[in-house]
């Protein structure tokens, strides 16, 4: 049983790390602000969430898990909201999204 939890926890931890890495690559590779934001928001929320769940499995039934659960709850709300506010602020300050314009080709 312990073995199963351990393996599951490591799968989640490594999966989370992979998503965070993909997000970081996305920030470097994507062409404009909004697409970069898209990469970082989706991957960070998922990656951090997976890492936290993996850590909860490591913690077992303890106070640490409760604290991790609170952090998880906090991350699920704060990350997307921050990105939303950032995108909104960028749009308000007249930053145009990069659009693929078919007619100009």
């Amino acid at each position: 049983m312990d073995m199963v939890v351990e393996i599951l926890s490591w799968i989640l931890l490594l999966g989370g790390a992979a998503f965070l890495l993909i997000g970081a690559i996305g920030v470097l590779r994507f062409p404009d602000f909004y697409t970069r934001l898209h990469a970082v928001s989706v991957c960070d929320t998922l990656g951090a969430g997976l890492v936290l769940i993996g850590l909860m499995l490591q913690g077992g039934f303890s106070l640490v898990t409760v604290k991790l659960l609170l952090i998880f709850y906090f991350m699920m709300f704060s990350g997307p909201t921050a990105v939303h506010a950032l995108a909104h602020a960028a749009l308000r300050s007249k930053l145009k999204p990069l659009v693929d314009d078919h007619e100009s080709r």
Binding site: H84, A85, H88
Partner: protein, 320 residues
Amino acid sequence: MEHLIDIVLLGLLMITGFAIVRMKSLLAVAMLTSIYSLLSASLFVVLDAVDVALTEAAIGAGISTILMLATVALTSDEEKKSRHTPLLPLAVVTLTGAALIYGTLDMPHYGDPAAPVHQHVASTYLHDTSREIGVPNVVTSVLASYRGYDTLGEVTVIFTAGAGVLALLGYRTRRRNIEGPGIRKLVVLRVIAKLFFPLILLFALYVLFHGDYGPGGGFQAGVIFATGFILYALAFGLGNAQRVIPQPLLRIMAAVGVLIYAAVGIEGILLGGKFLEYGVLADDPVTGQHLGILLIELGVGITVTAVMLIIYYGFVSRRH
């Protein structure tokens, strides 16, 4: 393994430092200093100094970034071109750095238990805390009880800083125009801010009153408390925040916090002890210590909250 984490963190710190020097946009520099603080906080966690890490994360990465951004918003985003050659500053920095590195050669090895710093008073503190003060967190007992006099000085410094900002910037209360421009549409931000605001304040109280048992204390709690109100001001406009916690009240709070701290000290004298001797506050010395630490942490928290908000209000209210 721990060395690996150290090397990665220190390497990232160095990269961030160089990036700060190279960067021309001040907004980007403000964000990078926030990252720098967060990295330092991680480094403190690796060193098992969680109290310092919490302070660094809350103050360095959190509130000072906000204040720095508010300052940049008041001035220009671009760094001014320096007119003189950088040769003299470079020489000064190189010489100072070389002297400091030369100084480290005489220092004891990293983590050496025989180092002088561990031989002086530290062992007494570690040995006697559980008997004399009865608090699991030795950092709190040193900060609030053994070195209570120093901490009183620190709180006074923070109070003076707040008074200085007030004297330099003044403040303007905004009665009309409660809605900030462009914020009307940010429904998501407002809902989430409403959701988080009470939780942040609750967490600040936890950090304040749990400082005896875990990492935390008045300084961290005060900053977290102020951050809650800044979040409120960002989402709902400065006018609304000033309705919730008005500027005149903040000025009184900043003074009251220091006064609570000093009053606890004087109460010690009146009850026949020395200044800031908490043992006489209750029948049992250990209970007295608990009471004294709780009261002075409360005083520190009130002053820090008030001063942080005074500075924030001072900067942001000048923008309009």
